[in-house]
């Protein structure tokens, strides 16, 4: 097996202590899962955008193959070997899975095809007793999980989350029949889990998890507000590093404790007037999933005063306040309140660029991640037309570094930075709302 060119993938330099310590949190979380399995308790493999509180309420320990793939993008078995993500992707491709397919799917499928689930970073994910996936975000998650369920021979449950398309706006309360539909599936999911594991649904337990989740979500929203400060106290490297507990451990106390510490640290930074770097001259937005195998990219513009201030991916939406309603209806309502069309996404990004004082967009042009990829050119166009801000496209895969051309990308990023620096030197505003907007 020939060695691939070693991309000089750098770890990112993070601003926050909590961000730097997240790796420990993740390792502990994985270990907890293995312990859970050793104690004979059930493990579920799932994906983002399924309401995790349900798992914790049902005594399941969740793992997420997509998160695991991102982890593999960074890890090597030995200092000389290729990245684990590349190793697994090759196995899948050899078995006939097209290179056009989502990087997460290729890595996840290769990992399973490899046979020994422990032959992987952190001892891999504990073998699942069941698989649960959702239709939200993309089609791949449905097909990929069907495929895994066949190979691992475990039962699969699919949640169908109806798309939410609005004429205008980013959030809207769902219609009655939509809530009813999603709620009935949540019930079906609970029955399914009881059938597979024998564990009964306890609404009180779910209430408890939802309370933690609400409190945690509030903290995360607070942090998002704080990040609007100038100079930027928390960047995208920190943002991506710290999304793990909120995305994957929502409903647990440990997630709440984690974000409390993070919020306090961000607050302290603002009080001390400290930003990511000393001389902040312009702020950038990172659109999409990051190049997991090369997080160092987030520090790239720092020498010229550029910081990444905000990233829309993985960030929470406001939830309707907790009610005495049946928890399943509450969950359905909150999930279905968010718009999922490209229109909503574009509108949201426009708003965010204004609120975070963004001077330029770095758009992840992820050639195998359809939902992130499809709106990219439109976002670039809209940012230019509505706000007069330039964007640069970073062409790559989410976890497979073989298609990453570092030289080409650096050239593009430099040219992009030039455009912003020109404005600064000419004393022009970095953002300009279109006339009549």
């Amino acid at each position: 097996m020939s060695k691939e060119v070693q991309v000089t993938t750098k770890r990112s330099r993070k601003t926050l202590e909590v961000a730097r310590n997240t790796w420990k949190f993740i390792k502990q979380d994985y270990e907890e899962g293995h312990e859970h399995k050793r104690a004979g308790k059930p493990v579920v493999w799932s994906c983002a955008m399924v309401e995790k509180e349900l798992y914790y309420a049902m005594g399941l320990f969740p793992y997420y193959p997509e998160q695991f793939a991102a982890l593999c993008a960074v890890q090597r078995k030995t200092p000389d070997s290729e990245k684990e993500a590349v190793r697994f992707a090759r196995i899948a491709e050899q078995a006939g899975y097209s290179t056009d397919l989502c990087g997460y799917e290729r890595v996840g499928t290769g990992y399973v095809l490899n046979g020994d689930l422990s032959d992987a970073p952190l001892g891999g994910m504990a073998p699942p007793d069941l698989l649960v996936t959702s239709s939200s975000i993309c089609d791949v998650r449905l097909k990929w999980f069907e495929d895994m369920a066949q190979r691992l021979k475990v039962p699969l449950f699919t949640l169908d989350r109806p798309e939410r398309v609005f004429d205008r706006g980013i959030m809207q309360y769902p219609k009655a029949h939509e809530v009813r539909y999603y709620r009935s599936q949540l019930e079906d999911f609970l029955n399914f889990t009881t059938e597979v594991t024998g564990i009964k649904y306890d609404p009180e337990r779910l209430r408890e998890c939802l309370e933690w989740a609400h409190k945690t979500n509030e903290l995360r929203l607070e942090i998002l507000e704080l990040r609007k400060a100038v100079p930027s106290p928390m960047g995208c490297a920190d943002g991506f590093a710290t999304m793990y507990p909120g995305m994957y451990c929502s409903g647990t106390e440990k997630a709440y404790i984690y974000y409390k510490a993070l919020r306090d640290e961000v607050k302290a930074k603002i009080q001390a007037g400290k930003g990511q770097i000393e001389n902040e001259r312009f702020r950038l937005l990172w659109y999409g999933i990051p190049t997991w195998f090369n997080m160092g990219i987030f520090n790239y513009f720092e020498p010229i005063g550029g910081v990444f201030a905000y990233e829309p991916a993985y960030n929470p939406s406001p939830w309707p306040p907790p009610s005495n309603e049946d928890p399943l209806t509450e969950i359905a309502t909150r999930t279905l309140s968010v718009g999922t069309s490209i229109g909503s996404r574009v509108e949201a990004i426009l708003e965010q660029c204004v609120e975070y004082n963004i001077a330029g967009g770095v758009l992840a042009y992820l050639i195998t991640c359809r939902p992130v990829y499809l709106p990219t050119l439109e976002i670039r166009r809209v940012l230019q037309d509505e706000l007069g801000i330039p964007s640069v496209l970073i062409e790559c895969d989410l976890v497979d570094e073989r298609t990453f051309s570092e030289g080409q990308i650096k050239t593009r990023m430099d040219a992009f930075a030039e455009q912003i620096l020109k404005k600064l030197e000419a004393g022009e505003p970095l953002q300009q709302r279109a006339a009549g907007a």
Binding site: D139, D147, Y181, Q185, G343
Partner: protein, 388 residues
């Protein structure tokens, strides 16, 4: 091939424009075979399937990036260029990720030929109608949910057209569509014989024309044509019997039929322009919206899921459309970046081989005619291999 069908396969836009001029009625474009076109037909609208051009993109490539479905991009390009300016409306169901994005792209980028009708800021005559088609087609609540969705769609249409669409109108449409299904099934029956009475390409032409003609006209013309074939005991060409499974077969992709049939003969398929466009009955004993909902949910599109490792309905459809046709080999013709199919193919091929004894060939297309020509080598080799 009779003229009525040929005009649609040769120049579909001209043929539909002519029809529109002649009848003065409205035409709506739609994506995918799951669309409840029966409701459009009930409202006296001609539903026509939107397809691409296969020509290099002129406008869409500035807005939609390249590592995505080339067919859908071409459809959008055609819209942006004005090739579809005779459409009074467009219906976009939530099928695959790309088609779903058409809800935004078509609305935003295609110049609309009709004027909006604004009342208190709400456009009651939208150009693009979005239908929330479920991704999971089984489940306790999926039919009631989808019926509610269709009810909403019907109401939007009624408001848009300024007329009501009654259950009787729907029932009439169902009768027309069922008659067309009878004739289409009949045509496919004629492909079970050895050799089949008509070639795969011809069958495609007939099915394709049906996607752009009023179904009653199509059924009548087809019946006459089939009566004629039966009367003459017509026999088509012999050859290795091939099953074709793939992405949307419009005029560009259908070149693959011609290529395959230089070496073998296509007798059956798993295509949205083929069997999946007519296979599922509309049960007249059900309330019409429910009948339509069930028909739409039954189409076994690869992107749909159930709660099971292998969608049973998908497998059942494949079994039903291969067993009686004496299929010797399967060819998967998949457009690049078609996630639904690319993900299902590895295990589907194994299942086909292990359970039905059918070997398969996978071709990845780029939606150009040159791309199809490059598949000649593997197609020839596959068929030679089957001949032994």
């Amino acid at each position: 091939m009779i003229d009525t069908f040929a005009q649609y396969t040769e120049d579909r836009h001209a043929a539909v424009r002519k029809w529109k001029e002649r009848t003065g009625k409205q035409v709506y474009g739609y994506f995918c075979c799951v669309t409840p076109e029966e409701i459009l037909f009930a409202a006296d609208i001609l539903p026509v399937r939107i397809t691409g051009t296969g020509e290099p993109l002129q406008l869409a490539d500035l807005h939609v990036p390249p590592n995505s479905c080339p067919f859908a991009r071409s459809c959008l390009d055609a819209g942006m260029r004005g090739l579809y300016d005779y459409l009074d409306g467009v219906v976009v169901p939530n099928t695959c990720d790309f088609i779903f994005s058409m809800e935004y792209f078509w609305k935003t980028l295609v110049p609309r030929p009709t004027k909006p009708a604004l009342i208190a800021g709400v456009d009651i005559r939208p150009y693009v109608h979005y239908i929330n088609y479920p991704e999971k087609i089984v489940g306790r609540d999926v039919v009631p949910f989808y019926v509610d969705v269709l009810r909403g769609f019907r109401q939007d249409l009624e408001r848009s057209l300024g007329r009501s669409i009654t259950d009787e109108d729907l029932a009439r449409a169902i009768t027309v569509y069922n008659e067309d299904k009878v004739q289409m099934k009949r045509m496919y029956e004629m492909r079970k014989s050895d050799p089949p009475a008509l070639s795969g390409y011809e069958a495609w032409q007939i099915a394709y024309a049906g996607l752009m003609m009023p179904k009653d006209d199509h059924a009548a013309d087809l019946k006459a044509y089939l009566d004629d074939i039966e009367g003459k005991s017509r026999k088509g060409a012999e050859g290795v019997r091939i099953y074709l499974s793939g992405s949307a077969m419009d005029r560009v992709n259908a070149e693959i039929y011609k290529l395959i049939e230089e070496y073998g003969v296509v007798v059956s398929d798993d295509l949205c322009v083929g069997t999946r466009s007519f296979w599922y009955p509309l049960r007249p004993q059900l309330p019409p919206l429910e009948a339509i909902a069930r028909r739409s949910l039954g189409t076994a599109c690869p992107r749909s899921t159930v709660t099971a490792p292998i969608p049973e309905n998908r497998w059942a459809h494949i079994v039903n459309t291969t067993k009686e046709f004496n299929v010797e080999g399967a060819i998967f013709y998949v457009l690049k970046c078609c996630d639904g199919r690319l993900s299902e193919i590895p295990h589907l091929r194994e299942k086909l081989r292990d359970e039905l004894g059918i070997p398969s060939l996978v071709l990845e297309g780029d939606y150009t005619e040159e791309g199809v020509e490059q598949m000649r080598g593997p197609v020839e080799a596959f068929i030679e291999m089957l001949e032994g």
